[in-house]
Symmetry: C2
Subunit: 212 residues, 2 copies
């Protein structure tokens, strides 16, 4: 399917559609109008129709959207119709939180191995996953067909590690290190920058206080 030229703003809204449609499915809701969807998601009905039209328009006049079909289709657009093999690097508190969160596995992202550079961590287990030595990471990626690396290490040394794992064949990086990574074309980096999120909260609070 040629989903070219779809703006990142639309793309960033799709996971939210996917999540709400999943919840509707769990509640056995079979069809829904853009107006009803609007009340649940909080986007306007017109925004919803426009967004979903980008992908070929799944709605039918007077019927609305078939929840299951729309959920499956958005899942497909998001690339969630096939499983991903992931590794997680840096098993501190944040790395452990991500390892323990079952929601990712339910969406097809399976963490196959954990890595840490700290000798005291190596050999410990979290959720039946042994923590392996970071020195062996390239070998592991090549041998086990790993798509995604979840990077939970500090800033120092992060770029060097990225160069190594990209060289070994990683295609996507979910990056929690507070650094803008440099990667070759074709490698995807999705950053989770908590400090930037916190600063946005601060800005909005300040603006609200000033406009009272």
């Amino acid at each position: 399917m040629g989903n070219k030229n779809i703006s990142m703003a639309v793309i960033r809204r799709l996971p939210k559609y996917y999540r709400y449609l999943g919840e509707l499915l769990e509640d056995d809701v079979q069809r829904i109008s853009s107006k009803e969807l609007s009340e649940i998601i909080g986007f306007t009905a017109s925004q919803i129709r426009q967004d979903l039209n980008n992908f070929g328009g799944f709605g039918q006049q007077g019927y609305g959207y078939n929840v299951e079909a729309l959920h499956a289709e958005i899942g497909k657009i998001l690339g969630l119709d096939k499983p991903y093999n992931a590794i997680l690097i840096g098993v501190g508190n944040l790395g452990q939180a991500i390892t323990n969160y079952s929601g990712f596995r339910n969406s097809g992202f399976e963490i196959k191995a954990l890595f840490d550079a700290n000798p005291r961590m190596i050999g410990l287990k979290i959720r039946d996953l042994e923590i392996l030595d970071s020195d062996t990471i390239e070998e592991y990626i090549k041998k086990h067909d790993i798509d995604i690396a979840i990077v939970c290490i500090p800033k120092n040394g992060a770029q060097e590690l990225i160069d190594r794992i990209v060289g070994a064949g990683i295609k996507g990086i979910w990056n929690f290190a507070p650094i803008d990574l440099e990667v070759p074309k074709g490698i995807i980096v999705e950053n989770v920058n908590l400090t930037e999120s916190l600063f946005t909260l601060s800005y909005l609070m300040k603006e609200t206080a000033e406009n009272k």
Copy 2:
């Protein structure tokens, strides 16, 4: 200052400017052109000039930007020139990771207390902060002038907790629970939705693979 009508896209870029300018300051860089800034941050020089013009234009032709002044001014715009008192609710792995991260404190966000509903957690300490009983949270907020709640609890029960803490006077919520919270007008919620971020990574990986 009347920073009305500035788009959220610009606002979301400001923390990045702030971070890079802070790093330049640490390296004793005193002035910088939009072109040099562009090479470091990755936005175009024209984008940078346009963004910073929103706030009154700190650059001077032929001189560039004064790094220290620009850093201070953006910090002020972001509301980082005054400290915030925060509490953290839900001391699981993620809550512990956030408690242990020193970067927030360096930016003026101080976690004053931790709360959990699990009796086995109550009374334990993390970084000299005792974990308090969630039942006492409203009392604590009122007594200690708390601005921000960092919410790291599961989805179930999250809205109920939010109603309680907003009633007690919380003005800003940094929300890690995978739920869209309902709050009264004037209360700011900044969501960190990890699943949506992961799905975006998946989408971009799929698109890249298909366009090869």
